[in-house]
């Protein structure tokens, strides 16, 4: 177990050292959210209407961009070989990597999302729902993403292939996530949506590490 936390710790320290990943994925998220008003025009009504969608899509994309490197960096320098043959089951390895990814690349987005939500003119209640939905839904993104990252590790341009493989699988999260926010904008309860998101996350927690571990072993052999 201590190995598990050691690995998470190493990945987090590495993320901080290597050009502070946290600022970076965060800034990407912010910039994407900023581009939209520029592309769509500044009308508040329109922005509030599309706000939840834009935020979720931006989170998806920021997540996707950082996923690429989940195993790739370790693969390129040979660390992945050593991790795989080490005393930790590959499934646990994947889980540790997923947790580190979520903590360094996704959690910061969730922290800043309320501010961006306000800037897009979302009502206060719905911002609570947004944050909740992101908290419950984004683990799926990291978990499912790990499967794609494991399958494409070792490929040049794996990054773009990854997007193709993974985005279709992200769609349910996007839909439920937006629905939760929309429900709370319409003064309805967001709870059923959050439950669904949580359910999907639990499912992904089972399938993700298994499939990703299989994919990793494959890409390495």
């Amino acid at each position: 177990m201590s190995r598990f936390f050691q690995l998470i710790g190493r990945d987090i320290r590495l993320a901080f050292r290597q050009g502070s990943a946290i600022t970076l994925s965060l800034s990407f998220f912010v910039i994407v959210v900023v581009l939209f008003p520029l592309g769509v025009g500044p009308e508040l009504a329109v922005l509030a209407r599309i706000g939840p969608g834009v935020l979720w899509v931006a989170a998806l994309l920021a997540c996707l961009l950082t996923l690429d490197r989940m195993f790739q960096a370790d693969f390129e320098d040979g660390s992945l070989d050593l991790l795989i043959i080490g005393p930790m089951p590959t499934e646990m390895l994947v889980l540790a990597k997923v947790i580190a990814h979520w903590l360094t690349s996704v959690l910061p987005l969730i922290v800043i999302a309320p501010v961006l939500g306000l800037s897009l003119n979302l009502p206060g209640d719905s911002i609570v729902a947004l944050t909740g939905a992101l908290l419950v839904g984004t683990p799926t993104l990291s978990l499912i993403g790990a499967v794609g990252a494991a399958l494409t590790v070792g490929m040049r341009r794996g990054g773009v292939l990854l997007s193709l493989l993974i985005l279709p699988l992200y769609i349910p999260v996007l839909i439920f996530g937006v629905a939760a926010v929309d429900a709370s904008i319409a003064q309805l309860s967001a709870a059923p949506h959050l439950l669904l998101l949580g359910g999907v996350s639990l499912g992904a927690l089972v399938v993700g590490p298994l499939a990703a571990a299989a994919g990793l072993r494959l890409s390495l052999s």
Binding site: I144, M155, L164, P168, L169, I171, P172
Partner: protein, 244 residues
């Protein structure tokens, strides 16, 4: 040749069986397709509202069925390939993917051509349409992953994992999309349950469905054979290389 031969013994039996089926599938395709086209173009009555455009349905609906069926088939043979390591299963899944993608594409194209007279636009973000589009992406991703590995054995496993994760997700995607759509937009555009299906429509539809299936079997056999031969060729080429 020192390469393990038993792996290629299976394909031999497979080739024998399929060679027997193949001529049947060709004839069935031709007959059913001609019959189905005749029934749908001349026998089926034009719709009282849509006129003759309703005939697009006979191309469209079976294509959509095939698109869904082929992905399921791919997932099943991927599972077989993954669990029992049956080499032909992987090749079958690989060979089926482009055909499935074509049917998906056909359903999309005919659907949107139909959408123009029906809804006044080529595309709406209807639940069924959207999930069909996502299915196309799943097909493309599956095909891309086959392309991306140098080693066919690895590619087979990777693609199988993807197909299986994809198939678990299809119901979730379908469900979420349905739900998303009804939330935002009460069914105003596409009520695809359509008019009650008369036998005059149902029969051509089924005949066309069978014709598509026979066509699929025919192309699948050709493609799987080609895949097996390609693999053999590869083995031979490398053997030759080693000798020189």
């Amino acid at each position: 040749m020192a390469i393990d031969l038993h792996k290629y013994a299976n394909p031999k039996r497979f080739l024998a069986i399929t060679s027997a089926i193949y001529p049947w599938s060709v004839w069935l395709t031709v007959i059913l397709l001609l019959g189905g086209l005749y029934l749908s173009l001349f026998v089926a009555p034009p719709d009282y509202q849509q006129g003759d455009t309703v005939r697009i349905m006979f191309v469209h609906v079976p294509a959509a069925w095939m698109a869904l069926m082929i992905y399921t088939l791919m997932a099943v043979s991927s599972a077989v390939g993954l669990i029992w390591k049956h080499p032909v299963a992987d090749l079958t899944a690989k060979a089926a993917a482009p055909i499935g993608a074509c049917f998906t594409f056909l359903a999309l194209v005919t659907g949107s051509l139909w959408g123009q007279p029906m809804w006044g636009t080529f595309w709406v973000w209807d639940a069924r349409l959207t999930s069909m589009l996502i299915l196309l992406f799943l097909y493309l991703g599956y095909m891309a992953i086959w392309e991306s590995f140098d080693d066919p054995a690895k590619a087979a496993k990777a693609a199988a994992i993807l197909a299986l994760v994809g198939v678990i997700n299809i119901p979730i995607i379908r469900f979420s999309v349905d739900w998303w759509n009804t939330l935002h937009q009460p069914a105003s555009v596409a009520t695809m349950d359509g008019p009650k299906i008369h036998t005059t429509i149902l029969i051509p539809l089924l005949v066309m469905g069978l014709a598509y299936t026979a066509f699929f079997v025919m192309v699948l056999i050709i493609r799987v054979k080609a895949e097996i031969l390609k693999r053999r060729l590869r083995v031979l080429q490398i053997a030759e290389l080693r000798e020189s």
